[in-house]
């Protein structure tokens, strides 16, 4: 695999040898979910230690002294409306109380007519959505037509499901426009895949939902929709510590996606403070 050789990854042999050890802990089956396939190491690449499911569960929840905070600290949202789909995200990355970056690109451009958002583990989202992009391209070449959003999100969720219980952290929304019209699917690390007109994911989603639910109408004009999305992210960024910095907005149309803007959320907040005509 090209990716493997770029990373200097030699082979699976040394890693998977460790998996031949016998399970001795009596409680393992209670704590960890069973792996379905006997020789699962032949099919997927596992972390280089025995019993990855047990180990990663330990660091995800406060079972032991170690805890890595995979907080889904972010606000992302997407909603369908009359003229397509609006996607809006913030750009802050936090590790506990430390703001790691204020310029994270949380919208992943899978291809000119498919977008994916990032929430949870940034590496997980970025990597798996790149793998998804590869699958989508091969589908397009084989079948001479663009892949549907339903199929793309299904490919992603099937890939994620193989690693269920092993510590993936993703809450991503797949957005696109296919022969059935605008498509919006939410896919998460526990293998959930659902479709609806509006989703918001992340620690700031509670604030975003309140703004969206108050004013959302399917028949909105494009400008109103962009404004609504902007307000939702800005208000979430204002109150949620793990969200903020820049708001990025994309519009998914029949001809593909278009980047609308990326501006600072604080500036918008001051603007809204001045504007006394806002009614909710």
């Amino acid at each position: 695999m090209a990716l493997a050789s770029v990373l200097g990854f030699k082979s699976n042999e040394t890693f998977n040898r460790s998996l031949q050890c016998e399970k001795t802990d009596a409680n393992i089956d209670e704590i960890c979910p069973k792996l379905n396939i006997e020789n699962i190491a032949q099919f997927i690449t596992l972390p280089p230690y025995a019993d990855p499911a047990k180990y990663l569960k330990m660091v995800n929840e406060s079972v032991d002294r170690v805890r890595i905070q995979f907080l889904k600290g972010t606000t992302t949202l997407a909603f369908k409306f009359r003229n397509g789909v609006i996607v809006a995200v913030d750009s802050r990355a936090t590790a506990g109380g430390f703001i790691a970056s204020g310029e994270v690109k949380k919208v992943i451009e899978i291809n000119p007519y498919l977008l994916g958002t990032m929430a949870g583990g940034a590496a997980d989202c970025a990597f798996w959505e790149r793998v998804l992009a590869r699958h989508c391209r091969i589908y397009e070449l084989r079948n001479k037509e663009k892949i549907s959003v339903a199929a793309a999100s299904k490919i992603l969720v099937n890939m994620i499901f193989e690693y269920r219980g092993m510590g993936l952290s993703m809450g991503t929304m797949i957005v696109g426009w296919d022969k059935r019209g605008p498509g919006l699917y939410m896919v998460s690390d526990d293998g959930e895949r659902i479709t609806d007109n509006m989703f918001s994911v992340g620690s700031g989603s509670i604030y975003a939902y309140s703004i969206l639910d108050a004013s959302y109408k399917y028949e909105m004009s494009t400008n109103d929709a962009i404004d609504l999305a902007r307000r939702a992210i800005v208000h979430a960024a204002h109150r949620d510590a793990a969200s903020g910095n820049i708001v990025r907005i994309y519009h998914m149309k029949e001809t593909g996606w278009e980047k609308i803007e990326e501006k600072d959320t604080n500036d918008y907040m001051y603007q809204y403070r001045e504007d006394k005509t806002m009614n909710f």
Partner: protein
């Protein structure tokens, strides 16, 4: 895991041919004839029904089978091989529905079957499938399709095609007789399919089996009575044509082209 005892059965000959594949094609030529015709709003499959033994139940010999609600397949060649291939294709149709949330396009399932046939021509100590298939159906967007595969794993799209015994004769007949009228009218498409079969099969509804698929409808096998009606119509047309030929000979002019053109205007019905 067995050692490297995967000696291929299908290997190249010195002049670049795959003999096993060609022998498989010979096996296909021994199978009973199957004909497919594609119209604007209809796809028709017709197969030759070989005579069954006296004590054998007629119903167990099924040469036309459905792969999904909107796809049907007829084959010529080894029946057992067809059963296996059909089973795999049916699973793939459902698998596609599950993963892509869309019914298969006819091209997709044809490509799958052809890939399968090709795989068995390369290594692993297996012989090729000894059958050709005719795959018909309607795509998600409503367009009718007819594809044909062969033991080498190639597939092509056709307006009308025949496979099996005397396929070449039937195909030549189809090339002569497939017209705009056939394409436009459901009735004409069915009639052409039956006519083509009757070139190589004894006349009579008990020797042919015709199945018809309309857009968004399931495959329907025509009953013996319906087939008899078509055959009666065809025989009447043949009689009229024979009469015209005799008259033309008597008059002394050697025109036969006018007879066939008046025939189509007389008998084409609006569907």
């Amino acid at each position: 895991m067995a050692g490297e005892y995967d000696t291929a059965i299908t290997v190249f000959s010195p002049d670049g041919r795959l003999f096993q594949v060609e022998y498989a094609q010979e096996a296909v030529k021994k199978g009973s004839t199957a004909v497919g015709v594609r119209g604007k709003n209809i796809v028709v499959l017709g197969v030759e029904k070989k005579a069954v033994a006296v004590l054998q139940e007629d119903r167990t010999v099924r040469k036309i089978c459905i792969l999904d609600d909107h796809v049907a397949m007829a084959f010529a060649g080894l029946t057992a091989d067809a059963r296996v291939l059909m089973h795999r294709a049916r699973i793939e149709c459902q698998s596609h529905r599950l993963n892509v949330e869309d019914p298969v396009t006819i091209e997709y399932i044809t490509r799958y079957i052809a890939d399968l046939q090709q795989k068995y021509t390369q290594g692993r100590g297996r012989r090729p499938f000894g059958l050709s298939t005719l795959i018909v159906g309607f795509d998600y967007d409503g367009s009718p399709r007819l594809y044909s595969t062969d033991p080498s794993g190639t597939y092509h799209e056709w307006k009308a095609n025949a496979i099996g015994r005397q396929a070449k004769t039937v195909r030549e007949y189809l090339e002569k007789s497939y017209t705009e009228a056939t394409y436009e009218s459901n009735h004409e498409s069915i009639k052409l399919c039956i006519r083509a079969l009757l070139e190589v099969v004894q006349s009579g509804s008990k020797n042919v089996e015709i199945a018809v698929m309309l857009r968004h409808k399931q495959l329907k096998t025509l009953s013996a009575d319906e087939v008899e009606k078509y055959i009666a119509e065809i025989e009447k047309e043949n009689e009229i044509e024979a009469e015209k030929k005799k008259q033309a000979k008597q008059i002394g002019s050697s025109t036969t082209t006018t007879a066939s053109s008046t025939l189509t205007t007389q008998t084409s019905k609006k569907e």
